[in-house]
Symmetry: C2
Subunit: 434 residues, 2 copies
C-alpha cells in the first residue's frame, strides 16, 4: 500500500498568495469598475532587455539547424555562461571561483528548495522571521520540522531568528549557543530532550525578502564566525543583490573573509534581468565548503550538489542560458541596469511618499521592497483589507511571512511608474496617520 | 555541525556515461584519426521542427514588449499547452483529463526523480532490471534503499523485476506476494525481519529504456490489477511512446481500463520533438489516484504533487511552453513525426543489419533503442571495448543498466542515417558471429 509523505499535511492549508488572489478576485467582482493597482507579488513588469531578446533569437535559429543544434547540455550548465558569471559577478569584486563551483539552475526557487536534500535529515535549521516561505516549506515537506503550532504561527523544531524594528530586521547569530537558542532566537522553548546546541543550516536572504533591509559586511562576518565555530553552513540567497545601492552592503557573501569555507550562494536573473518567466539562476558551491559524515569525515558539498543535479536535473534550456549570457554583454549590462534603476526609482517613490504621509517605512534603499508599518498597530490583514477596499491597492500582509511580520505590509516596486505614483497618492490621501 | 546526507555515499563512484566518455576520450587520444561513430547516449541529433522554431521566435518577441511580456507563470504550466496535451495526446485516444491533472515540467528526468518526494519514506519500490538509472538513484539519495551490494550490483531493500530473454524483457507483477518477492523477483532474499508483502511503488518504462521492448495493453492490465489489489501506485514513464509502431502497444497507460485509479504518467518532448536541449515534459496525476496516511485515510496524490511543484518549482519558461504548444500544430505534428520516422528508419537499419550479420537483436520496433546480445556470451564491457577498438563505434554496455543487462549492448537510433549505416557495416564486417 502506497503511503503519502505526511509531512505535507503539516503545511497550513491557506497559502498566502492564494488567499490574496481570492480576496482581490472577490473585491473585483463586487467592484467591477475599480482600478486595482497590484503592488503585492514580487513579479517584474518590464520586458526583457533588447540584448537578451537578440541573443535568444540567435539561439533559437541555432536550434533550427543541424550544424548548430544542441541536445543535452551539461547538467551543471554551459561554460559560456559560467565563465561570464565568474568574470562579471565575482572577479570584478576580487572573488575567484572555479568553473566547477558554479551550477546553472532554472530558478532560485528550485535551487533553495532542493539544497536541503544534500544534508542529513536530522539537521536543525534556522530562518529569519519574517522570511520567504520556500526555505521553510521545503524543509517541512522533507520532514525536517515538527508540527505547525497554529496559535504561534511557527513550526516546532525550527529555530526562528526574529527580525524586528529593534534589531533593524537583521537576523543575528545566537551569541551563546544554548541560551540564545532557547531564550532569545526561538519563539518557544526547545524541548529538553532535544539537545540543540546550535543550528546546522542557516538560511540568510540579503537583501531580505520581505523586509527589504540588508546586512552589512560586518554583520555577515559575525555569521561567518558563528558558522566556523559551530561547523554550520550558511545558505545565502542574494536574489536581490542588483538592487543594492549602499557601498557597505556586499553583493556576494564571498566579499566577506572566510565565507568560501561556510557559505553556499544563490543568485537569480528573475529580478536582476526580468527573468521571472524566463527562468535562470545559479548556485555557487565552493569546493572548500565542507560538511560531515556521522563519523566526522569531512566531505565537500560541491560534489554532493553536483551529484544531486546530475541525477535530478537535466540542465537549463540552451536558449535560456544564451539569454542569461547576454545579460553580461555591454548592452545587456546597461539595459538591465536601466530596468533596475527604474524599479528602484519606484521604490524611492513608495518610501518617500509614504514617509511624507507619516508612515514608518523600512527597506526600499537596497531592495525593491518597502516594509511599511501599519498605522495605529493595525493587524497586517486588516490594513491589507483597508487598502484594498479604500485605495484599491493590493499589498502583501507582513504576517504572511511569519509571526514577526505582524504589523507590517510589503509593497513592491515592480509596477509601472504611473501606477506606483498613483498607489502612493491613494494611500496618502486616506490620511490614516494623524 | 552540518552533516551530509549519507545516502549519497551508497551510490557507486563510477557513473556509466562518465566511464564511457573516459574510455572514448582515451581511445580517441591514442587514435586521433579514427572516425568514431557514437550510438551510445540517447541524445537526438536532428534540429527542432520549423514550426517550433517559428513559435519560439514569436514568443521571444512577446517577451521583448511590455504589452505581451510574461512574468511568473502558473507553476503547473500554462493552460494553452495543457489544453493541447489533453486534446492531442489523450482525447484522440478516448482519454478524458481535467486541466488540473496535467503538470508541465522542465524534463522527465526532474519529474521522475522528484515524484518519490510525495510518498512516505518507508516505502518499498520496484524497478525493472535493467533500468534507466534515475528511478533508482533518486530513491537511493532519498534514503529509500539499503546499501549497494557490489558483488551483485544491486541495492538492498529494492525489489528488482528481472527483464530477460525468457520473459521478453517485460517486468511482471509478483504473482504471489510473499513468495514472488523473495524467490522470483528479487535478486537476494529479503531479510526475515522486513515483512515485504508487496511493493508500494512500481516504476514502469514503456517502451523500455534500455531494452527497447514494449508491454501490450494486456500486460499492463496485469500491472493495474496488481496495483489495485495491493493499493500500489504505478509510475509510468512513456517518454518513448511516439516511437511505437505496433497497434496493441498503448501510448498512454490510461488506454488501459482502471489505470486512472493507480497510475501517474510521465511524458517528455525530448525524444518526440527533439527537446533534449530545450527541456519540456509533463506529468499526469489523475485526481482519482489515491495514497494513504498511516491511519488509512485516502488522499489524492494530485494535490500533493501540486503542492510539491508550487513549493519547489517556478514553472517551465514561457518561451519553451510555446515551443511545446507548436508541436501540436498541424505543421508541428507532421514535422516531428518525420523526425521520429527518420530515427525509426535508423532503428530498423540497426536491427535488420545486425540480425543479417547473425546477431540476436531485441527492441527497435517500438523504440529507438536496439538491445543487442553479445556474441559468444561475451561480457557487456568486453564487447563495448571490442566495438570501440575494432569498429570505432560507441555503444552502451547493458550491464551499466543493472545486473540483468549483462550480455547485452544498447545501440541508439539517434545518429545520422549515414553514420548509422556505416556503424552497422563496420560491426557486421568484424564477422564475430560464425
Amino acid at each position: 500500500m502506497a503511503h503519502i509523505n505526511e509531512n505535507y499535511l503539516k503545511l497550513p492549508g491557506n497559502y498566502l498568495f492564494a488567499t490574496i488572489a481570492k480576496k482581490v478576485a472577490d473585491f473585483s467582482q463586487k467592484n467591477p469598475n475599480a482600478n486595482i493597482i497590484r503592488l503585492g507579488i514580487g513579479d517584474v513588469t518590464r520586458p526583457l532587455a533588447p540584448a537578451v531578446i537578440e541573443a535568444m533569437h540567435k539561439a533559437v535559429d541555432e536550434m533550427g539547424k543541424a550544424e548548430t543544434f544542441r541536445g543535452y547540455g551539461p547538467e551543471q550548465g554551459y561554460e559560456f555562461l559560467i565563465n561570464k558569471i565568474i568574470e562579471w559577478d565575482y572577479e570584478t569584486r576580487g572573488i575567484h571561483l572555479d568553473t566547477d563551483e558554479v551550477f546553472i539552475g532554472d530558478g532560485a526557487k528550485t535551487d533553495v528548495a532542493c539544497i536541503q536534500e544534500i544534508f542529513d535529515k536530522n539537521m536543525t535549521f534556522a530562518v529569519a522571521d519574517p522570511v520567504y516561505p520556500v526555505y521553510l516549506d521545503s524543509n517541512v515537506m522533507a520532514g525536517h520540522t515538527g508540527e505547525f503550532i497554529d496559535l504561534k504561527g511557527v513550526y516546532k523544531d525550527v529555530v526562528y531568528l526574529p527580525c524586528t524594528e529593534e534589531n533593524g530586521f537583521k537576523a543575528e547569530p545566537p551569541k551563546d549557543r544554548i541560551e540564545s537558542m532557547e531564550l532569545k532566537n526561538c519563539c518557544f522553548p526547545v524541548p529538553a530532550n532535544k539537545k540543540k546546541e546550535h543550528v546546522d543550516l542557516v538560511y540568510l536572504c540579503n537583501p531580505s525578502n520581505p523586509t527589504g533591509t540588508a546586512m552589512s559586511k560586518e554583520e555577515l562576518a559575525a555569521w561567518i564566525s558563528y558558522a566556523k565555530e559551530t561547523n554550520a553552513i550558511l545558505l545565502y540567497d542574494s536574489a536581490y543583490e542588483s538592487y543594492i545601492t549602499e557601498p557597505n552592503i556586499p553583493h556576494s557573501i564571498y566579499e566577506v573573509e572566510g565565507a568560501k569555507d561556510v557559505a553556499i550562494e544563490f543568485r537569480s536573473y528573475s529580478k536582476s534581468a526580468g527573468f521571472t518567466g524566463t527562468r535562470c539562476s545559479y548556485v555557487v558551491v565552493p569546493k572548500t565548503v565542507l560538511a560531515y559524515t556521522a563519523k566526522n569525515n569531512a566531505i565537500s558539498l560541491n560534489q554532493f550538489w553536483n551529484r544531486r543535479q546530475c541525477t535530478c536535473f537535466n540542465g537549463t534550456p540552451y536558449i535560456i542560458q544564451r539569454a542569461a549570457e547576454a545579460v553580461y554583454s555591454e548592452k545587456g549590462r546597461n539595459q538591465c541596469k536601466a530596468d533596475v534603476d527604474y524599479y528602484m526609482e519606484n521604490a524611492h517613490i513608495i518610501r518617500d511618499g509614504l514617509q511624507a504621509a507619516g508612515y514608518t517605512v523600512y527597506g526600499a534603499t537596497n531592495s525593491p521592497y518597502a516594509w511599511v508599518k501599519t498605522p495605529a498597530n493595525m493587524k497586517s490583514w486588516d490594513f491589507f483589507d483597508l487598502l484594498l477596499e479604500k485605495a484599491h491597492v493590493v499589498t502583501t500582509p507582513g504576517s504572511g511571512f511569519g509571526p514577526h511580520g505582524e504589523g507590517f505590509l510589503r509593497l513592491t516596486a515592480f509596477g509601472t511608474r504611473e501606477n506606483t505614483i498613483e498607489a502612493v497618492h491613494r494611500i496618502a490621501d486616506l490620511k490614516l496617520i494623524k
